[in-house]
């Protein structure tokens, strides 16, 4: 009984002391919670000689290929800059740029967790790939006033300054791409009948909306048939058969699924329908889609781009491309030739960030956002002629201009007019 009492007393003391310890810890818990920084004080993630950027992007899983590229490009860009001494900032100090990248496997929940983990250590978040994975922490980034800039999503929400004060998209929206097609077609001299097949979601809708707004009022263009499919469909043969019967000479196929695009190219041929094709930028790879699809049978395959393709013989000696490929190998931890345009885009993100760094006058996130939003007609390395980074246009991502290109049997050439 005595022992019982004593052990009880021991436990009571243990509980009391545990409580006392935890309670005393309460006083100092203000540290580590963002949003309370004094005016003008340096933001987290920046010191006098370095700045840290965070990235959450898919590095494993189905989208790991492009995801890895989004990290490799910007890491290579700043790796080369750091080796040369660093980047000179607008406040006169020279800083090295460090990148902290985490894998989110294209899972919004993990992307949010990665953001929570990074936000107090990094100055800004950048370059991450994916619409849902960027949307998942958009609200939190606004509340915490953490920049979420030059992210790789075609979602226009990220370029709406009123809705997203701390965000800026990098790549052109689906709308921008559709518009470029429409403009090219509307400017052609002949009459054209257009058939449209689009994915039944925001991706397809964006393309179609942009395309239609561009051909509005053009008398020579008539949309003769318009169908949709689901992203989960395994075949669009029925839609293609119906569209072939429309007699269209131009086919706008807003499709994001690689195998479906290949089988569409094959199916239309077997139906004896050979229109000119307009393909989105992410399903127009010469090696992965056009060759297996037998694209040579068509009079023209058109797509859009804003970056130089390093694999293209036309750019093999281009100084931008040579420098980029060398840096990607040496600093980007990416020894192979880049398989996705995201590597080039990410390199351009690096160059655009450098522009903003050079113009930011205080080491704060506010000053950075101001500098980032005032970049005009900056021709980033690897950019095609007639495209530029322009962050001053309301409602547009950093790159909103694309050029239309035509398939030449191996790669793409920029075209000024349709046929």
């Amino acid at each position: 009984m005595n022992m019982h009492l004593r052990s009880r007393k021991a436990l009571g003391i243990a509980v009391a002391s545990a409580l006392a310890v935890t309670m005393s810890g309460c006083g100092g818990d203000d540290t580590g919670r963002s949003g309370d920084a004094a005016e003008g004080a340096p933001s987290p993630g920046i010191t006098d000689d370095s700045i840290t950027l965070g990235i959450t992007t898919p590095l494993s899983g189905a989208t790991a290929g492009p995801g890895t590229c989004t990290v490799a490009g910007v890491t290579a860009y700043f790796g080369a800059k750091n080796a040369a001494g660093g980047v000179e900032f607008g406040d006169g100090k020279t800083r090295t740029v460090e990148i902290e990248a985490l894998d989110d496997t294209y899972d919004p929940q993990k992307a949010k967790a990665n953001y929570d983990q990074l936000k107090d250590d990094v100055f800004a978040m950048t370059a991450g790939l994916g619409t849902p994975t960027n949307r998942a922490w958009r609200d939190a980034a606004i509340a915490d006033e953490v920049p979420q800039v030059l992210v790789m999503t075609g979602d226009p929400l990220f370029s709406d300054t009123a809705e997203s004060p701390w965000q800026l998209g990098f790549v052109p929206t689906y709308l921008n791409e559709g518009e470029a097609f429409g403009e090219l077609l509307a400017s052609s001299s002949g009459d054209h009948k257009v058939a449209i097949l689009s994915q039944n979601d925001d991706y397809g809708e964006g393309y179609v909306e942009g395309f239609k707004s561009a051909i509005e009022g053009a008398d020579n263009i008539e949309v003769v048939d318009e169908l949709t499919y689901e992203a989960t469909d395994t075949s669009v043969d029925a839609q293609l058969t119906e569209l072939a019967a429309s007699g269209a000479d131009v086919f706008f196929n807003a499709m994001s699924v690689t195998p479906l695009m290949i089988s569409s190219l094959q199916k239309a041929q077997s139906l004896g329908w050979t229109p000119s094709w307009f393909l989105p930028s992410n399903t127009s790879s010469p090696g992965a889609i056009l060759e297996p699809g037998g694209a040579a049978a068509y009079p023209g395959i058109f797509s859009v781009a804003f970056s130089k393709a390093p694999a293209s013989p036309a750019f093999a000696q281009d100084p931008d491309v040579v420098e980029y490929l060398a840096a990607l190998k040496q600093y980007g931890n990416y020894p192979d030739p880049p398989a996705f345009p995201h590597c080039q885009w990410s390199w351009m993100v690096g160059a655009t960030l450098e522009q903003a760094f050079q113009n930011m006058e205080e080491p704060t996130r506010d000053s950075f956002m101001e500098a980032l939003r005032s970049i005009e007609d900056f021709e980033a390395p690897l950019m095609l002629p007639d495209t530029a980074v322009n962050t001053t246009e309301e409602g547009q991502p950093a790159v909103s201009t694309v050029v239309v290109q035509k398939y030449n049997g191996r790669g793409y050439d920029t075209v000024q007019a349709f046929e």
Binding site: M3, H4, R6, S7, R8, A10, L11, I13, V15, A18, L19, T22, M23, G25, C26, D29, G32, R33, S34, L59, S60, G61, T68, A101, L102, D103, T105, Y106, D107, P108, Q109, K110, K112, A113, N114, D116, Q117, D120, T131, P132, T133, R135, A136, W137, R138, D139, A140, A143, D155, L157, N200, D201, D202, Y203, E230, A231, T232, N333
Partner: protein, 359 residues
């Protein structure tokens, strides 16, 4: 302060006051914890709470009743979407919570009424269909779900005057809701229904001969699992504040299943460990090498299953068995389990012995 309890460690755990003090201490720690931890730690624990509840639901139908369900993520996603829709339409939050529980439960009931007629792997196949149907459905019903762009809903700002930060407030809500769900589930599986579930899991013919309808109990278990899945969906929206069709992809359902087996099938504490595994391991592998996360997670999963086929929850037992071969059953229980030594020992122990064969 020489504690006399060292020599009598095993008997101390059986004293009645310890049985009360243990849970009490746990409650106090949980109540104080959000105030002292960093923001990121709070958010991480809240996420663990979300997935612990999801794994718990899966445990009810799989761990305790032995029916393979590969669709649990669908109910989490359903609950999350109901919550997001309700919040974005400014419905009362209590009503939203009730709907986030009930709607998935009704969906689960309807599926179970049909699926539970099937046996064995057929029921698994039916549940596979749920996330596979759920993703395109969420994309298609864009008026309700926001399509593939998903839905954001922030509804858990700390109330004015409470003096709490948002992350602390959210963690308190998660702890309270998850605590209640765990307590109720624990009581369920320890009681009459738990014994019936165990018998249905063990042998359906025996169950029938004892007057326990396997069909009814399978439907019941599945419905409860769906309801708990809905609760975890509500918590998901509370913590993550965003849902999209990606939330309920089939791969996540498999991850939940892996988390349940790793934590410990048919175990309440195992559900918490499973939730912790689901959340912490990606963070851990990200620290090691962000480009090798999938590989590292696979290796870790294999390692745990080789060393601890009964899941992480069997770790203390495996340790004590190795050190003290003579240890009694009661003292070998995991120390974090509130009163695992009480009451109907058969119901609590039976699934654990069977687990070796099933896992």
């Amino acid at each position: 302060m020489a504690t006399p309890s060292t020599s009598t460690a095993s008997s101390v755990w059986q004293r009645p006051w310890v049985r009360w003090a243990g849970p009490l201490l746990l409650v106090v720690v949980l109540a104080v914890m959000p105030l002292v931890l960093s923001e990121f730690a709070n958010q991480t624990i809240a996420r663990i709470g979300v997935y612990a509840v999801a794994v718990l639901g899966l445990n009810v139908v799989m761990g305790y009743t032995g029916q393979v369900s590969l669709g649990q993520i669908f109910f989490l996603g359903f609950g999350a979407y109901v919550t997001a829709y309700g919040v974005s339409n400014d419905w009362n939050i209590v009503l939203v919570f009730a709907l986030a529980c009930l709607a998935p439960a009704v969906a689960g009931l309807l599926v179970a009424l049909a699926a539970a007629r099937l046996g064995g792997l057929a029921i698994a196949m039916v549940t596979v269909a749920l996330p596979i149907v759920g993703v395109p459905l969420a994309k298609r019903l864009s008026d309700f779900t926001g399509g593939s762009q998903g839905m954001s809903a922030r509804f858990a700002e700390a109330p004015e005057g409470s003096g709490l930060y948002d992350d602390q407030w959210q963690l308190y809500i998660v702890l309270i809701i998850a605590g209640v769900v765990f307590l109720l589930t624990r009581n369920l599986v320890r009681g009459k229904y738990g014994r019936a579930f165990a018998i249905v899991k063990g042998n359906e013919n025996v169950a029938s001969s004892m007057g326990i309808s396997p069909y009814r109990y399978k439907v019941l278990a599945f419905t409860i699992a769906s309801l708990i899945g809905g609760v975890s969906g509500f918590l998901y929206m509370l913590v993550i504040q965003y849902t999209s069709p990606e939330t309920m992809t089939f791969g996540h359902s498999i991850s939940l299943l892996a988390a349940m087996v790793i934590g410990g099938a048919g175990s309440i504490v195992g559900s918490i460990l499973g939730g912790a595994y689901y959340v912490l391991v990606p963070q851990l592998t990200n620290e090691v090498d962000p480009s090798l996360t999938a590989l590292l997670q696979g290796a870790l999963l294999l390692a745990v299953l080789f060393v601890l086929p009964g899941g992480l929850v069997s770790l203390p037992r495996a340790l004590t068995r190795g050190r003290r071969p003579r240890a009694g059953r009661g003292s070998a229980a995991p120390p974090t389990t509130p009163s695992s030594t009480t009451g109907s020992g058969t119901a609590a122990e039976e699934p654990e012995t069977e687990r070796q064969g099933h896992a």
